[in-house]
């Protein structure tokens, strides 16, 4: 990074099912709140980046025109579950390069438009034609991980239990009720060994963050917030033959690059918001991020190392499993959570003395790829 980039405000609506709200209806309120909270007038915004996957044409412009925010470039970004974080990456890169000073990033998605069920994937994809859906992909990761390691279905359930425990503390979470291991295991089978409570829900949501250069931050007289210490985006690489589904290369590579950019090690992190779309993902990512040795991710969840009071709090927001996962909004919502945590505004779910945070989203079911896109950010309290 050539210039320091800061997150100076964050706003979001609680993730939920908003059947009577459009993309505009979901996103305009946090857009207004984030600008106000940043003390930024719409005339000071240099560019708008909007992450969404199913919003249709000109989603960003449809939102921004409602508050008369126009003229400046509006970039609509689709990278499946990484859409929102990719938008942040693009905004951050533009500021770091000195091209712009203030950027607004919106992540928004309305999944209730599909009436429930698994996420619609591209009908042009070979495996989608064969009937693949995301729960099946993660379920096959889980089958193989349980086969290769000592981890059990109970460990998969423990991930959901922790997510729900955290979500119960988070007023922004879609699910605020705690669950037990027994309840998770007894819930409806979705794709063996994954049960319903091991899968993130469908829902709607919007989150907005305002990014600013050091110069703009000084001009605005902003204090606190957080500095973007690393911003990494990678695409999946095709593998025609054998692929180890329990070692997600795209997430490992992104994490290594992010640690190098930030100049920190995994043990320095106080909190992580990671892509727990299905409970197996959290275990696999503990290893990909260097938090656990190969095959030993379950030890962390069994020993409570990744909840409040542990060595690194993973998904203090409740994660995708409890907070919810309106695809394009998730990456921005993770950064909003990091912002609140690092600036001491996280209420009942505050991570003690949080200084370093990492956010991670990876998305897209595409034949031959582990994931289509992976975005990782690391933040330091300013």
């Amino acid at each position: 990074m050539t210039e320091n980039v800061h997150v100076i405000s964050a706003a979001m609506i609680p993730f939920a099912k908003y059947r009577t709200s459009s993309y505009v209806g979901l996103a305009v309120p946090p857009l207004i709140d984030a600008l106000r909270s940043a003390g930024v007038d719409k005339s000071e915004v240099d560019a708008v980046y909007v992450g969404h996957s199913y919003g249709g044409m000109m989603t960003g412009q449809r939102i921004c025109k409602e508050i008369g925010l126009g003229d400046v470039p509006t970039v609509n970004v689709d990278n499946a579950c990484s859409s929102g974080a990719t938008a942040i990456h693009e905004a951050s890169t533009a500021i770091a390069q000195g091209l712009i000073d203030i950027a607004v990033v919106i992540g928004v998605e309305k999944l209730t438009q599909f009436g429930g069920g698994a996420l619609p994937l591209s009908p042009e994809d070979r495996e989608v034609k064969q009937g693949i859906i995301m729960p099946a992909v993660y379920a096959m990761r889980a089958t193989r991980y349980l086969y290769e390691t000592e981890a059990t279905a109970e460990d998969l359930a423990l991930v959901s239990v922790k997510a729900r425990k955290h979500g119960a503390l988070n007023p922004f979470a879609q699910f605020r009720k705690e669950v037990t291991v027994e309840e998770v295991l007894a819930s409806r089978a979705v794709a063996d060994p994954l049960t319903l409570l091991m899968c993130c829900p469908t829902g709607d949501g919007a989150a907005v963050v305002v990014l600013a250069s050091e110069r703009a931050r000084k001009r605005l007289g902003t204090s606190g917030g957080m500095r973007i210490a690393a911003s990494v985006l990678h695409s999946g690489h095709v593998e025609e033959g054998f692929r180890d589904m329990t070692r997600p290369e795209i997430s490992s590579r992104s994490a290594q690059d992010a640690y190098a950019q930030a100049g920190i090690e995994p043990k320095d992190l106080d909190m992580i918001e990671l892509h727990d779309a299905f409970s197996i993902a959290e275990l696999v990512y503990y290893e990909a991020f260097g938090l656990a040795e190969r095959g030993h991710a379950a030890d962390l969840i069994r020993d409570g190392k990744t909840t409040f009071g542990g060595s690194v709090v993973v998904n203090p927001s409740g994660g995708l499993l409890a907070k919810g996962h309106p695809v394009g909004a998730s990456g921005v919502a993770q950064v909003a959570e990091a912002f609140w945590q690092l600036s001491g505004q996280a209420g009942d779910r505050q991570v003690d003395d949080a200084r370093w945070a990492m956010t991670h989203v990876t998305g897209g079911g595409t034949a031959g790829l582990d994931h289509g896109a992976c975005t990782i950010h690391i933040f330091e309290a300013a």
Binding site: I132, I133, M140, R144, Y147, A191, D192, E240, G241, F242
Partner: protein
């Protein structure tokens, strides 16, 4: 004025014309694959370019009928009943998603499987001669 060289148009691929993976070969019904004539990489489906070396010197092949089950799930949503689905690593190191037919013995990763054809549908099932699993670790 006529230039010495003129820009050539790229040609679209009619990849939606026939996207069935199962095809009739002299040896019987097989999954369609593509082999790169330059680097030798074999791939699932019909391709016009090698994803490894970007060569257009590619040709259609019949994929092996046997392989190892890498992983699987029994899908309870998105259709009627339970649908076992898995990734099969064919013996030429090409991975394919496939319906998996369950037999009397429960499925497990690492077992040897073979192609079965039932009308227009195809699937993989435990190899008839399979006695113990071969683990691809």
């Amino acid at each position: 004025m006529k230039t010495e060289t003129a820009a050539k148009a790229s040609a679209a691929i009619a990849d939606m014309e026939n996207d069935d993976l199962l095809s009739a070969f002299p040896e019987g019904p097989r999954l369609l694959g593509t082999r790169c004539g330059d680097c030798g990489r074999e791939m699932i489906g019909t391709r016009v370019v090698c994803s490894s070396c970007v060569s257009s010197n590619v040709g259609t092949i019949a994929l092996p009928t046997t392989g190892t089950l890498y992983s699987f799930t029994r899908l309870h949503v998105g259709g009627e009943g339970i649908r076992p689905l898995g990734y099969v690593d064919l013996d030429n190191d090409v991975r394919t998603l496939a319906d998996i037919r369950e037999g009397d013995t429960p499925l497990e990763p690492g077992i040897r499987v073979e192609l079965g054809v039932d009308g227009e549908n195809w699937f993989f099932a435990r190899e008839a001669s399979e006695t113990k699993g071969h683990h691809h670790d």
